[in-house]
């Protein structure tokens, strides 16, 4: 009994065995890394496009919930300045722009190009001066309603118009964008886990004689599975890092020309945040570990069915 010893492998054992495991089956390892890369690329594309669409829609929604506050006739310039300061200081109000009667007239005339005769006989004084207010994204519901009511009650204000319908529709679209992104992400996760699991199973089966030798020389637990799980982690890291790098490259090459074609995107689109990028890489690494584990489970089931 005195010759019994504890089994405790140094870290270098796992790293060497894991790297060796990857290099032992280069074709299968390449397929695994590629599968993970494609999976992360798909998820990353969904995330990148989704977050940018969300940003564009959110921007449109924010600019679409403008409130037009029409002033009564005869409001003094001093009072206009006071009102502008008051609006700007109100919580939930972003941009404030004053449009005088003349400016409103010029704007109307500019938009009636070709039908300018419609304005014949009309005086610029007929249009009211107004404030265009851009609301911040967070403000909605009862808070927004009470704000609109308080403005309507002011004596200098004749009318308050709020394009509620457009805001709600855009908010609905944002919800849809979010759900589609989640669904596509989940689909990519399931599909890639199955594919990666199958490639790892193939890798383990290819090396079943070696696994058999390890079993016979007394490898168990971490010594038996550890290097393969670590190999899965390394392959996952490689594949996902390559995918994020490729995504960044494609974004860099396409974002500029796309914004030139679609002014709506100009200044709005952005690449993934560092947190999102790290999450994607971690997801790929996790995918490698889970796929490796699944492959080993299948091998273990096959192995125990054929022998103890």
């Amino acid at each position: 009994m005195s010759r019994r010893r504890r089994q405790l492998q140094p870290t270098s054992f796992f790293i060497r065995r894991a790297v060796d495991s990857i290099l032992a089956t280069p074709v299968i390892s390449s397929v695994t890394i590629t599968s993970i890369a494609v999976s992360v690329l798909l998820a990353g594309t969904v995330l990148l496009v989704g977050s940018n669409v969300y940003r564009v829609v959110a921007g449109a929604a924010a600019s679409g919930v403008d409130v037009s506050v029409y002033l009564a006739n005869g409001v003094s310039e001093a009072r206009v300045v006071e009102l502008k300061k008051s609006f700007a200081a109100t919580e939930g109000v972003g941009r404030v722009q004053y449009i005088s009667k003349d400016e409103a007239w010029q704007f109307l005339a500019a938009n009636l190009v070709g039908s300018a005769e419609l304005l014949d006989g009309l005086d610029a004084e007929v249009l009211p001066a107004s404030f265009e207010l851009a609301l911040e994204q967070g403000i909605s519901g009862p808070g927004l309603d009470s704000l609109l009511e308080s403005w309507s009650a002011m004596p200098e204000i004749e009318d308050v118009q709020y394009n509620r319908q457009l805001g709600q529709r855009l908010r609905g679209t944002m919800g849809l964008v979010r759900w589609v992104a989640w669904a596509l992400g989940a689909l990519a996760l399931v599909a890639s886990t199955i594919i990666v699991g199958a490639t790892f199973q193939l890798a383990v089966f290819t090396r079943r004689e070696e696994m058999e030798v390890l079993r016979l020389v007394g490898a168990v637990g971490t010594a038996y599975w550890g290097p393969l799980l670590l190999a899965g982690l390394l392959e996952g890291l490689l594949g996902s890092a390559a995918a994020v790098a490729m995504l960044a490259l494609v974004f860099r090459l396409t974002a500029g020309p796309l914004a030139a074609e679609l002014p709506l995107l100009a200044g709005v689109t952005a690449f993934l945040t560092p947190l999102q990028s790290v999450t994607l890489v971690a997801w790929g690494a996790g995918l490698g570990v889970v796929g490796s584990w699944l492959g080993m489970q299948r091998f273990a089931a096959w192995s125990s069915a054929s022998q103890r």
């Binding site: 010759r3 010893r5 492998q9 020389v217 007394g218 168990v220 038996y224």
Partner: protein, 227 residues
């Protein structure tokens, strides 16, 4: 070292047990030959001893470990306490000779440097010191068996189980392998070797168990001990 009590093993679909009520007691330091015709049950008995098969009857203890109630950790620990040699050597072809031997030591928890040192020592003992960097694919059968024997010994086992280790070797190489096994035994390791190789049987003077139809039908003591 080995104590079996009415061990039996039956396989589904096979008429009659492969091993039938085998009782056996092997003392530490013994060299025991297990012989018999093909299908006599030698390999099944060996597989029971290293935990690759579970006996369907009886009880067994190897190096103090109960064979019938062993968890995978205990089974692996038992395998690290014993050395195994098979007819087909079972080397990992993409690892070098030295790496094949050292790997078994590393699995046993030995550092890389110590594992390589042990591998070098054993390859030297096996006369394979110049083959350390070669791949097993480029070795002859006898050389492969020497490497397999070195691997089996790298964890300094208390028991060496050799299942037909000379089965595919020519007479000269068989003699060399048997000499090595005897040397291992002289150094204190208990050796149980299954074989139906007549050359091996003629060359070794040791205790011999004869199996037929799953049973041990003859237990001839070591002539040197009888004297």
């Amino acid at each position: 070292m080995i104590r079996l009590n009415n061990i039996g093993k039956s396989f589904e679909g096979r008429p009659g047990p492969a091993v039938d009520s085998v009782s056996l007691h092997v003392e530490p330091g013994e060299f025991v030959l297990l012989t018999g015709a093909s299908g006599a049950g030698k390999t099944t008995l060996m597989r029971i001893l290293f935990g690759d098969e579970i006996a369907t009857e009886g009880t067994g203890v190897v190096n103090g470990r109960n064979l019938d109630c062993m968890e995978s950790d205990a089974l692996a620990a038992l395998r690290r306490e014993m050395g195994l040699v098979f007819q087909d050597s079972r080397l990992i072809d993409r690892l070098s000779v030295r790496e094949n031997v050292a790997l078994a030591a590393e699995v046993g928890g030995v550092s890389c440097a110590e594992a390589r040192r042990r591998a070098e020592d054993l390859l030297c003992m096996m006369g394979m010191q110049d083959f350390g960097d070669m791949l097993p694919l480029h070795l002859a059968s006898g050389e492969r068996q020497r490497v397999a024997l070195a691997r089996a010994l790298v964890n300094d086992p208390v028991l060496l189980l050799a299942d037909e280790p000379t089965g595919s070797l020519d007479p000269d190489t068989t003699a060399e392998i048997l000499e090595l096994l005897q040397e291992v035994n002289r150094r204190g390791t208990t050796v149980l070797m299954a074989t139906h190789d007549m050359d091996a049987l003629e060359q070794l003077s040791c205790r011999m168990l004869v199996m037929a139809n799953g049973r041990i039908v003859e237990d001839c003591p070591d002539p040197s001990r009888v004297q």
